[in-house]
């Protein structure tokens, strides 16, 4: 086991140039060289997926509380937003709203389990609750290498959470949850974390290669004395270590590429979920900034969780019952639609602000905006609470990617939400005919 250290390779990679610190990141990848970045003839294509739990109010058309229902009235081009999505009115040229869609394989699941599968479309395996790859990570596999961070995973609660109540929307190719970040300060550091304080991080990134080499050697020497099945398990370990080594190497390639200068003073990095208005503003500001600076092109944001969550008390900000779950359950009761509708309106306001910022940011030479090349999926995996059908959903942006907007499209319950995923993948020029249980692209949006 006296294998010589693989020093030369790393020394070469590090180069002589001034190195810039990069935080130690999950999914930090790039094979692109500096010159390739943002000089291609095509503008970057981006994806942002946002989910909130517990569903919305769905009063019938004759219900006096219909104005507090999430879905618009009317259909097709001839639709009217209710009070809930009114904040999006100025943006409707860039927004499509859908009803009827859901993940057929997830319908028999417990209503509270479907946060895990919002972007994966698969029933969790019985007993093991094993999941499959999520839409954003699927896209990150294809496009993630073009940017410093292959993707960015956010949630109000951070980490991964328990199975069936995860606090992240993103799942790796193996179906493992990708840990989410929740603190604006940490997110900012991950995005732009180079200053004097992170000199340490820089040194650590350089050490990581050597550490992983050592770990690999240890595993190889250990393996020799093990049974066959144990050896195969150790090989799984080694494959994972090698994969991380590659990520470290790619991260080191980025060391010579300067990060954009970013003024953080306008963002409340100290905001936390206990103050929802400031917190949501900060989270959307960071998402916007990540896209604007092309640090990443793919993100997911789970706003709340079906399990215990710091976002449960968010409705309290409006003077409502500070229990989102309870509010959702009472949506069908007298006055209930108005209560949850007001909260959904509050969240739609934050979404509108985010979309507006993307729209106001020009990109390229032909008068396009960031929003024209960004797909923003927003919705819940319940219609009314506990019901895994008729997800409230909207898709914004992507005009340059061939999407048509300003309509309310109704689908029957047979149409899988995955059809929308297929349309989104195709709009992002990812060659695919299907995603999980899709039956084709979604009619009417492109």
């Amino acid at each position: 086991m006296k294998k010589p250290w693989n020093i030369d390779r790393r020394t070469l990679l590090r180069g002589a140039g001034a190195s810039l610190a990069l935080p130690w990141l999950e999914g930090m990848t790039s094979t692109a060289s500096a010159s390739q970045i943002s000089t291609g003839s095509h503008l970057p294509k981006r994806l942002c997926c946002i989910m909130f739990p517990f569903g919305v109010a769905v009063p019938s058309d004759t219900d006096p509380a219909r104005q507090w229902g999430w879905f618009p009235t009317g259909e097709g081009k001839d639709y009217q937003l209710t009070k809930v999505l009114k904040p999006l009115q100025p943006l409707m040229d860039d927004v499509s709203i859908f009803s009827g869609l859901s993940h057929p394989r997830c319908r028999t699941m417990n209503g509270h389990d479907t946060g895990d599968t919002f972007l994966t479309a698969n029933n969790l395996a019985p007993g093991t609750y094993r999941n499959t790859i999520s839409l954003d990570q699927y896209v990150a596999k294809e496009l993630g290498e073009k940017t410093r961070l292959s993707s960015l995973t956010l949630s109000t609660d951070g980490g991964v959470g328990p199975r069936t109540r995860t606090t992240t929307l993103s799942y790796s190719e193996k179906g493992q949850p990708v840990p989410a970040l929740e603190s604006p300060k940490l997110i900012f550091q991950r995005l732009f974390g180079q200053d004097d304080a992170s000199k340490n991080d820089r040194a650590r990134l350089e050490n990581s290669g050597s550490i992983l080499d050592l770990v690999l050697d240890q595993s190889k020497s250990l393996k020799r004395n093990l049974g066959k099945a144990d050896q195969m398990k150790m090989e799984e370990f080694e494959t994972s270590v090698r994969d991380v080594e590659q990520r470290v190497e790619r991260a080191q390639e980025w060391l010579n590429i300067p990060l954009p200068k970013v003024d953080a003073s306008a963002i409340s990095l100290d905001a936390n979920p206990e103050a929802p208005d400031e917190y949501l503003t900060a989270m959307y500001d960071l998402l916007f900034l990540a896209y604007q600076t092309d640090i990443t092109r793919i993100s997911s944001f789970q706003l709340g969780s079906y399990g215990p969550s710091r976002a449960r008390t968010f409705p309290g900000i409006l003077g409502l019952d500070p229990d989102w779950h309870g509010l959702a359950h009472k949506a069908g009761k007298k006055g209930g639609a108005e209560n949850i509708g007001k909260f959904d309106q509050f969240m739609a306001g934050h979404l509108a602000r985010f979309l507006q910022r993307l729209k106001d940011t020009p990109e390229g030479e032909s008068g396009s905006s960031l929003l024209d090349n960004t797909l923003v999926l927003y919705g819940s995996s319940n219609s009314k609470t506990h019901q895994n059908v008729n997800y409230p959903l909207l898709l914004a942006g992507g005009k340059d990617l061939g999407l048509k907007h300003n309509h309310f499209l109704k689908f029957d319950s047979k149409t899988p939400l995955s059809n929308l995923f297929v349309s989104m993948l195709q709009a992002m020029a990812i060659e695919t005919e299907s995603f999980v249980d899709s039956t084709g692209p979604l009619n009417g949006i492109s």
Binding site: D113, N200, K228, K233, D270, G307
Partner: protein
């Protein structure tokens, strides 16, 4: 302890030489095949394949045919008397039964012996999330949320999280292990001067909700105690000490004190997080001091950005909240204040009279003092630092110092002594990193981090030596690394001595750390996690407090713990005249005897309490409901799988859920719906064996409360004209026994299913202890353990000692 176990257990394994041809004493084609065709063929043949089983296509070649596991299941069914069914037309003659079981046994033994040499078994495994967290905590000597970013483990087919085959590894995990190691080492190893310590002490609340005017009235106000901490460190451990006493009237429970830490960024929200809670039992003349700890960075802190316009205070606040034993916030009826004082409804109306003071006695908490200090340091550098970078080594040259520090750390991290050769590569890493690092401690942090990502740290490696045995034992009972004593015994090669091993097993069971075994094993065996997957619908149970779920989990854990600690018979899992509850849960159940506080106590149950055994516990009843209604099928499957080790076959793909709105089910009670469902041919063969086990428990609703009337059906309104139908828990088991409710079910299990219970307990325990699924070659040992367990009156401690002393646990027979 158990005198039997001291002697050590000799478990015989019938060793064949691994050649299947040697056991061809019984001719399959002549003696077995015709019997299978005649007796089993009708249901498991070309016409029908109940339970997806068809004998005429199973290969009688156990080694190459790939059907050995199916044959094994068949043998179990025959041995347990499940097959052929008693009411079946064709039965086995005594001679046929003997030939069949002998043939199955011999063939299975032969294939097991042959398989042992193929190495098809995963014996080494990585640490689970919780084992990793415990091990890191003990190794580094700091409190930290080590597992927060690690993905949760997938469960094995038997419901366990520590199965080597299902435990996976991914790049994300490797990255997380390295990141966590670095973060934790940054806390454990310190550089620089001792940080400034902030300390605040108070004996009176900074602000209260008591109005200033004393002429308010007698409407009780909620007391709270607030301690302002204007200056504080943004990270590091803090300590809050509270000295308090209580006044508790006769018949009341002990009041509860909650300690929170938070800040005041805005008007509406006070972001805060609970630090801890205690039941205050100390009388007023003898107050008690409680200590709470946490890390500043885990709690909300005021930011540099201001949210509220009128808030000047930018510190953190310690808040104490007071509750009675039932969980209601305490009031101050004696303070005779209201907040705000009563006002007339409109101008000109008379001022409303002050409410009269309550006359009944009330519980109360008196706070003597609250002390906040951060960072809380016992010494500088802290003990964690001194344990990792030994000050005695500082006189050495750096390389020698690094070697000494590494040796100490690595032998603890790898749970066995390390040689100079083991240390060399890590020392080389240190020497490579050192010139790039600012200081020795910084370079050592990185070197230690590499140890913490090493497979020798992250895995329990099946090295077949004394150290592997020590490791397996301590991860079984403590879910963490072996202590010094175990390692010393391993080093002296004494651990394989059956008496020593029995003593050590008992020592570990007696240690408070065995709560890890109690909690982890009962969580996984009984699937207590399922409580968190059920959302209680507040429309059905508006009064249900979600904290009861935690109490229910604790009840079942503590119940299992009591059986272990007191060395009771495991048959008490089925029925007993006691349980473990706290006040809130006892109140929920409506028990005659209620503990006085939030701590769990053993209470005696009366017949009319209608509890006793795990089937009367909220954890089982609620987690196998859907949060609205009881779910007899889920409950039945749980009993068959978790208690009787006879899980029913999974439902065929695409079976629809029972839809009560469906025309033929509308208006039927749940029991009748299930009966209608069983009439369908495709459902019957499985469900006639499933449903009865759950129907017998229909007297317990979704949240585990006893009821005697049937629940309302969907869409049905209460009506004065219709009194709801009386609940009918009478059901008939497949063998023909009639059960009338839970008591009959329990009696039946204790009388008729002892063999199943014993085998189930042994198999679950062995599966957990070994961290792998059991296979054919484990069969004989499992049977021997089961027999002893049964003859030893189902005592759990004896079983654990026997298991640890068995060839399975010691891996003495499974050498590949």
């Amino acid at each position: 302890m158990n005198s039997l176990s001291k002697k050590g257990l000799i478990l015989f394994l019938v060793l064949t030489n691994g050649n299947p041809e040697d056991v061809a004493a019984i001719d399959f084609e002549k003696e077995i095949e015709p019997v299978l065709e005649r007796v089993c063929g009708e249901c498991h043949g070309p016409e029908k394949q109940k339970a997806d089983l068809r004998f005429d296509t199973l290969s009688p070649d156990f080694l190459k045919g790939g059907d050995a596991d199916t044959w094994h299941d068949a043998l179990d069914q025959i041995n347990l008397g499940e097959m052929p069914p008693t009411k079946a037309k064709h039965q086995l003659t005594a001679g046929e039964r003997q030939a069949l079981t002998e043939w199955l046994n011999d063939s299975l033994n032969a294939v097991a012996a042959a398989k042992r040499n193929v190495g098809g078994r995963v014996n080494s495994r990585r640490l689970t999330r919780y084992e990793y967290a415990n091990t890191m905590r003990d190794l580094l000597g700091i409190e930290y949320d080590f597992s927060r970013e690690l993905p949760p483990e997938p469960t094995s087919p038997e419901g366990f999280l520590n199965n080597g085959r299902t435990l996976e590894m991914s790049p994300t995990q490797i990255e997380t292990y390295l990141a966590v190691a670095r973060q934790a080492l940054d806390i454990a190893i310190v550089t620089g001067e001792k940080p400034e310590v902030f300390s605040v002490n108070a004996s009176a609340s900074a602000i209260g909700r008591l109005p200033k005017k004393k002429d308010g009235g007698a409407v009780p106000v909620n007391p709270e105690f607030v301690l302002d901490v204007p200056d504080f460190p943004r990270s590091g451990e803090f300590e809050i000490t509270v000295t308090a006493s209580s006044k508790v009237p006769e018949g009341h429970g002990y009041p509860k004190l909650e300690v929170w830490l938070g800040c005041v960024p805005g008007i509406i929200h006070v972001p805060r997080k609970m630090v801890g809670e205690v039941s205050v039992k100390a009388p007023q003349d003898n107050p008690e001091t409680f200590t709470f700890r946490g890390r500043m960075e885990d709690f909300p802190q005021a930011g540099r950005t201001r949210f509220g316009k009128n808030i000047d205070f930018h510190g953190v606040i310690v808040m104490l909240d007071f509750f009675d034993a039932e969980g209601n916030e305490l009031h101050y009826p004696h303070k005779r204040y209201v907040s705000p004082p009563p006002k007339p409804k409109k101008k000109g109306d008379p001022v409303p009279p002050l409410p009269s003071p309550p006359t009944k006695p009330f519980p109360d908490i008196e706070i003597e003092s609250v002390h906040f200090v951060a960072p809380s340091l016992t010494s500088w550098p802290p003990p964690s630092h001194l344990a990792l970078l030994n000050p005695d080594n500082t006189n050495y040259k750096e390389t020698k110092r690094a070697r000494a520090d590494l040796e100490a750390f690595m032998s603890r991290a790898f749970r066995r002594p390390v040689s100079g050769k083991d240390i060399d590569p890590y020392l080389q890493l240190f020497e490579k990193i050192r010139p790039l690092s600012e200081s020795y401690p910084e370079a050592m942090k990185e070197t230690f981090a590499s140890v913490l990502v090493s497979p020798r740290f992250l895995h329990l490696i099946d090295t077949r030596d004394n150290f592997a045995l020590a490791e397996r034992l301590s991860y079984l009972l403590w879910s963490t690394a072996p202590d010094q004593r175990l390692l010393t015994l391993a080093k002296q090669k004494k651990l394989r001595n059956p008496d020593t091993l029995a003593d050590e097993t008992n020592r570990l069971m007696n240690d408070p750390r065995s709560s890890e075994f109690i909690n982890r094993f009962s969580d996984q065996w009984f699937d207590l996690d399922a409580l968190n997957r059920v959302a209680v619908n507040p429309e059905f149970f508006p009064e249900f407090d979600n904290e009861l779920k935690t109490a229910m989990q604790t009840e079942t854990r503590e119940y299992f713990g009591e059986i272990l600690r007191e060395d009771l018979s495991c048959l008490e899992l089925i029925d007993s005249n006691w349980t473990m509850v706290n006040r809130a849960l006892a109140t929920h159940y409506g028990l005659g005897h209620r503990p006085r506080g939030p701590d769990f106590e053993r209470v005696k149950l009366a017949k009319e309490d209608r509890r006793g055994g795990i089937l009367g516990q909220g954890a089982f009843l609620l987690s196998n409901s859907n949060g609205e209604a009881s779910h007899p099928i889920k409950r039945a499957v749980w009993i068959l799988d978790r208690l009787l080790d006879s899980p029913p076959a999974p439902p065929p793909p695409d079976v629809p859920e029972l839809d009560p709105e469906q025309a033929d089910l509308a208006g039927l009670t749940l029991k009748d719906q299930l009966a209608a469902h069983r009439k369908k041919e495709s459902c019957r063969s499985c469900h006639e064996n499933i449903d009865p086990w759950g129907i017998a428990l229909e007297n317990y609703d979704a949240i585990g409360l006893f009821r005697t009337v049937a629940p309302l059906r969907s869409g049905e309104k209460t009506s004065r004209d219709h009194s709801p139908p009386k609940l009918d828990p009478v059901t008939k088991l497949p063998h023909g026994e009639t059960l009338n409710g839970a008591d009959d079910l329990k009696a039946f299990l204790l009388k008729e299913k002892r063999q199943h219970l014993a085998q189930s307990i042994v198999k679950r325990l062995a599966t957990y202890a070994l961290g792998r699924s059991l296979d054919l070659s484990d069969r004989e040992t499992i049977e021997a353990l089961t027999e002893r367990f049964q003859s030893n009156d189902f005592r759990l401690r004896g079983l654990i000692v026997d298991l640890v002393n068995s060839d399975l646990f010691q891996h003495s027979s499974a050498r590949s």
